[in-house]
């Protein structure tokens, strides 16, 4: 695979990942809003309706972490069908993902910058040695950008 193809593949994975994040946010929002409405219809006051909805959902960040893996460098899978999904333990088509932690949302520019930098600077990351080096570099590079 040429360098250009590798970069293109990583960019596809990057945008697929952001789409997954956006879709997940939309799903969670829909779920909570519908639950709150049902709670209100059942006679709860607005504060309790919201609290009960969040309680029954059981924590949004742990759920996202289950899907995305822990903050830090992750491996994710990007394919041309657009179902780019991170698989932290999967080595299928590995790509690097630097994250600045849970404060950075999917649209966060610092986070996006790290993804792009990873894709461009570490195209040979699929080899284990390259992966280890890139992992170290990307983690530190991204974390250094925290305010």
């Amino acid at each position: 695979m040429s360098r250009a193809q590798v970069i293109a593949s990583r960019l596809r994975g990057l945008f697929g990942r952001d789409r997954l994040d956006t879709e997940l946010d939309q799903e969670v929002r829909f779920h909570l809003e519908t639950q709150i409405e049902d709670n209100l219809a059942a006679g709860m006051d607005p504060v309790e309706a919201r609290r009960a909805a969040l309680r029954s959902f059981g924590g949004i960040e742990p759920m996202k972490e289950t899907i995305q893996g822990p903050p830090g460098v992750r491996l994710y899978r990007g394919d041309s069908a657009g179902s780019a999904v991170r698989a932290s333990r999967s080595a299928q088509k590995p790509g690097l993902h630097g994250d600045v932690g849970d404060r950075a949302g999917p649209g966060d520019r610092r986070s996006t910058a790290c993804h792009v930098l990873n894709a461009v600077l570490f195209p040979a990351a699929s080899s284990s040695a390259g992966l280890a080096i890139s992992r170290f570099q990307s983690r530190n590079a991204c974390r250094a950008k925290r305010p």
């Binding site: 879709e23 939309q26 829909f30 779920h31 639950q35 029954s56 959902f57 759920m63 999904v85």
Partner: protein, 94 residues
């Protein structure tokens, strides 16, 4: 059916015995979609909100049949252990 509807159905069918931590549903749905057992599409909910709807695929139905068989075999095995009377002579096979 959308994720919220699935969570509600689980509660209803189990007569609220299974208190699902609803946030755990979405990683499970994602994994099943990755495995090709379910498919999803965006549509409008009953209240005309944008929602993601899930449906079972052919591969999912086949998997469901297999999982159901496995579950029945396992639960009947456990049932035999729970109903086992140590005083009774063991059934002879073969």
């Amino acid at each position: 059916m959308h994720g919220y509807g699935i969570a509600r159905r689980i509660g209803q069918i189990s007569k609220e015995v299974l208190q699902l931590n609803q946030g755990t549903l979405y990683p499970a749905l994602l994994r099943m979609e990755q495995d090709g057992w379910i498919a999803s599409r965006w549509g409008a909910s009953e209240k005309n909100r944008k929602a993601k709807f899930y449906s079972i695929t052919g591969a999912g139905r086949r998997r469901l049949v297999k999982e159901t068989e496995d579950w029945r075999r396992m639960s009947s095995t456990i049932e035999r252990f729970l109903g086992f009377d140590p005083g009774e002579p063991a059934e002879e096979h073969g």
